[in-house]
Subunit: 303 residues, 2 copies
């Protein structure tokens, strides 16, 4: 399979088995995540399998399962910003959504924390378990082409103000040939939530929506969104109130249960399902085998 | 061209036109470097050319010139370490060579500064000028497989001591199929000097030697090493004492002119030439058109 051909010729075009978003909140272990994903991809995860590289026959990721991983890292960026005396700032939209104020300085902190540290640590963990992970940001090879939000509305002192220089954006397109070439060559792309605009600007994009865009572009069979909650809860304070199953067509009516970050995950699930993804699982990243549990119906299954 | 095939079937196998190492010292502008490389690759560098992505027909890098860029960033890592109150430490070998003490903490600072900030800023600059750059570290897809230095000798208080836990290493192998698949698909790989060991350990490797290893693995027609000096000088204090041309077979006798970092560049040049690279240019990164000048014989030309 060629990077250039990008899956053309395959019946129905490129198709991922699994797109995974793994969050970076407290209690989440990339080590457990990597061990579990490696074991799902076949072979004893303890034994490191040196592979011929990112090519057919190389890497455990070639055992059939076609996977792309998207990670977060906003908490890591906040910690780095604090340590540098460059604390990250946040703005609240008129609708109450809180987001990062992404000026140039904040963007460079994101590059360091997310594309530098978090991305390479996940790649390292997967490599240790024999998965030939390849870390990329959405800027690289124009993997994720986005549009910059040229007017970001936010509320301050009760007044609505507008930012015109914010470097946050939305993913508009996925470079499927690039990602497909890597996946079919035996790699697992590990993607940082940065995109690039048509004008060549780096953009801070939401990681859950990145994962949805990638899953959608590949009509992935399954999108798994892992974070530090068991899934969508009827009562956010009660883990036992997990909603186990939601029919895709009635997802909208469950939005009322989503608070905070969960709103974005429900939106991501909706976008992925609309793009042809068969099943979305919002699962718990804090368990020993987070991917296996999610794929086996742990968490909230939407289909 | 397929990532998997990796250039097999091409007469003589994969071959790069140009491998470039660009340093990160003061006075070096990635903006000028990117504009110059973009113009060399064809087209007006001012006009951004959105491309179909990392694939045939996408990106100015598809105009024929096959290029890989390797960057440094140790100075950026030192600045970040200081800002974080985690100053980088350096050790001096019995032979007087100074190198970074790469414990786990220093490695994570390198990941952030070099693979995070420097790599993405170079990718951004190239993307702005229409070159479809793809930033990778040597860990990614096992692009650079290295061996860890399991016993690093250094001198302290006049005594020679040994470090057994240092995460520095040497590049032993290049994943040619991966890099070739990307290059022939129209991308310019931009590589951070981190490697991965067969055991899956991330390794801090010398960027000049990385560039030499990549140039050698592809028998590149030319390796250009750009830094903040005009080239190899007879008198390090006198820029006018530039040595313009060195026959490859007598390079060893010029080692005596090399001081400090230049020693590694001469060693890199020697390794590249031994691996079949036709010409190495040690050039000045501080000029307006650093790549063009080096390719046209500016700096010290070794062949």
């Amino acid at each position: 399979m060629s990077v250039a051909a990008g899956g053309q010729g395959e019946a129905g075009g490129p198709r991922l088995d699994l797109a995974i978003k793994v969050g970076g909140a407290e209690g989440i272990s990339y080590e457990r995540f990597a061990r579990d994903l490696a074991s799902m991809m076949g072979g004893a995860p303890e034994a490191y399998v040196p592979a011929g590289g990112c090519q057919a026959g190389g890497g455990r990721s070639n055992d059939g399962l076609r996977v792309v991983v998207v990670h977060g890292g906003s908490s890591e960026a906040n910690v780095l910003g604090e340590a540098l005396g460059r604390p990250q700032r946040f703005i609240t939209s008129p609708s109450g959504h809180v987001s990062r104020r992404t000026d140039r300085d904040a963007l460079e902190v994101l590059m360091m924390a997310v594309a530098g540290k978090v991305n390479k640590i996940i790649v390292e963990r997967l490599q240790r378990f024999g998965v030939n992970a390849i870390g990329l940001s959405g800027m690289d090879g124009r993997l994720l082409v986005g549009s910059r939000k040229t007017a970001v509305r936010y509320v301050e002192d009760g007044k609505t103000r507008v930012l015109r220089d914010d470097l946050s954006g939305r993913v508009e397109g996925v470079n499927v040939p690039l990602a497909w070439g890597l996946v079919t060559a035996g790699c697992v792309p590990v993607v940082s939530p940065l995109a690039i605009s048509v004008a060549g600007e780096p953009l801070n994009v939401d990681a859950d929506l990145c994962a949805a865009a990638i899953a959608g572009a590949f009509r992935a069979r399954r999108l798994v969104i892992l974070s530090n909650v068991p899934g969508l809860l009827e009562d956010p304070a009660d883990p036992r109130s997990l909603i186990r199953s939601i029919p895709a067509q009635s997802l909208a009516s469950y939005q009322r249960y989503a608070v905070g970050r969960m709103k974005k995950k429900i939106l991501a699930a909706a976008e992925a399902l609309e793009s042809g993804v068969e099943e979305v699982v919002i699962g718990d990243a804090r368990v020993d085998d987070p991917v296996t549990q999610a794929v086996n119906g742990g968490g909230t299954v939407i289909r």
